[in-house]
Symmetry: none
Subunit: 190 residues, 4 copies
DNA sequence: GATGAATGAGTGTTCATTCAT
DNA sequence: CATGAATGAACACTCATTCAT
């Protein structure tokens, strides 16, 4: 018998990300995604249970991928500010390098599909960063506030900045990224 | 297309916001929206050119409404920090009071429809706040950085905080809002 | 606005009966039925909630129609044997005149759709015949056995005879019908 | 196509009968039948030419099986009434013991597939009974009418009685079966 | 102004069957 | 012999929009 083809699954993944970005969730039909991936719609159902499974799986895969990018050259022995600075630069670089995947997660997490994802599974991959923040709080370097408040001043600004710059086509210079990180650090540091 | 019966138009507006939140953009069909509003699908086309017009108009209307809420008790004679603090509290209160409208804008602005909105028109309503920031920069109270960077540490944290708290069902206490505003202020103040 | 078109509903009814007979339940798709009726598949869903509704409604309509045919010239003042004889002849004539409707009910009642029909509703239309049988039992003219046993020797033989003759293309002569009725009467009479 | 593994063929036979009864002809796809039988859809095509072949073969196999059951303890030396009485009891017992196979034949024979079966082949297995009836006619014990009329008062009542009782969940007591046979005998005897 | 009827095009999904291993 | 992968065609059904009243 034929064997499962990783190339096909990857083609479906790429086609999904591409189409959702080009024409949006609403218009991204199974037929169009399959066509973009160069397979029959029926074939899609060999690799995914249904459309929901395709979208949720794609989202989770991207999230795992992004966490890997964010944690590139992660070195817990560095000072906390340096660690976060590296993560910050990684995030911005990642969003600029993989804007499609980034935008897919933005669309996805604002859709009703979002509630279908087990957040625990995804959060696990971001744990190293969370631990750094915890350490920072213990060492009285970072303000002792809930994690979602810290997140609102670290991750979301990076995302929103990337989004607004990607949208307007402007480049995010090294300098601007540094400046923005300083605001982030000023927000959370004690 | 706009014509007379305001009650019908309002019913359509409410139905659109409600349905998009309940079942998402993808599933919100013209037929369902019309039914929810208690009118015929054909009637919808008297008030709106087509579905796109319905969604975009609804978005713009909400944005205008939100700007009014954000600027409640706006008093330019107060110190800049106090002005922004009031805006901050207004935003959080507004998101918590009108979660449907808030979530609609989130879904909408992450969809391809977003590009159909003339940002100038919407931004106009937020000008008073922008002017405050400009004044703050001139007076060396606020860091002299691009507006979108400031926005990334004022508006988006408020939105993301509201979103994450709304999603998890947690309440945002007065104290937490105050704390979060302090982070925001620390980020942008000189 | 346009008004509901009885001609269309009738066309759908006829198309359903015709197609189910020609190609069977399995192959009778909504698209084919709509095409046969000369309307769009979407139009079918204005007149029927879904395919199941179409088939069940068609079945019930036929059953009501058949009961009317069976009871033609029904005269309760006649001797019981004469009443049943007339019903018997009516049945055979009806099956031969409307073989499509008859065969539809045969296919339907042997399909899983059958369980969706409220038997009470259908049986109501056959009550006059049932009452005749009851009277016959009371008057010691007919054997005192359960109704389904009597039915198995009155209605089903008529149906099966019709079916086997229709299938083989043979005519059912007046004489043969009379003969068969005699067997039926011999079976149930005391 | 038929080849070796009898266990697989039997599994397919059972799966077909089971599924057609549980979900009907319409929903019984090759994929589901194969899954139920624990084999690959492709394997099914080793044992059967196509779906039609599978269904027709299953039907014929059941018919042969049923004929065997009907003729259990068949003793042509007994009086004709006793022979038919035994067949009658065998039929009822068989339908109650193998309701799935019985219902399969009911569904099948009311579908367009029925016309694909060579009736001669099937009838052959029921010949002993037919011969008894012929003898009964010659001996002036049974009415001299066409065979299909006799059948309509012997076999079909038994089937319909079984069907209605199976459907309603009621048991068919020894006494009721005896009673019903008496009606059958009254119908056909001279 | 307002409506339910009407539809061609599209939706997500499953189908019977064949292919490559 | 046996298989899961693969698919074009079909499935039931819904879509945004227009039409006739």
């Amino acid at each position: 018998m034929r064997t499962r083809d990783d190339a096909k699954q990857e083609a479906l993944f790429n086609a999904t990300v591409k189409l959702v970005n080009e024409i949006g969730f609403v218009s991204s039909s199974v037929a169009k995604i399959a066509k973009e991936a160069g397979v029959s719609p029926a074939t899609l159902y060999i690799y995914y249970k249904n459309k929901e499974d395709l979208l949720v799986s794609t989202y989770v895969d991207i999230k795992v991928f992004l966490s890997g990018e964010f944690l590139k050259d992660f070195d817990p022995s560095l000072p906390i500010r340096d660690i976060l600075r590296r993560v910050w630069f990684n995030m911005i670089a990642c969003f600029s390098e993989y804007p499609d995947r980034f935008r897919f997660t933005e669309q996805f997490s604002n859709s009703p599909y979002a509630s279908l994802v087990d957040k625990k599974v995804v959060e696990k991959y971001f744990e190293p960063i969370i631990n750094v923040l915890k350490r920072g709080i213990e060492q009285k370097i970072i303000k002792d506030v809930d994690f979602d408040i810290l997140a609102a001043f670290i991750f979301y600004p990076a995302m929103n900045l990337s989004k607004s710059r990607l949208g307007s086509g402007l480049e995010l210079s090294e300098e601007i990224i540094e400046t923005a990180f300083n605001l982030s650090w000023d927000a959370i540091k004690l």
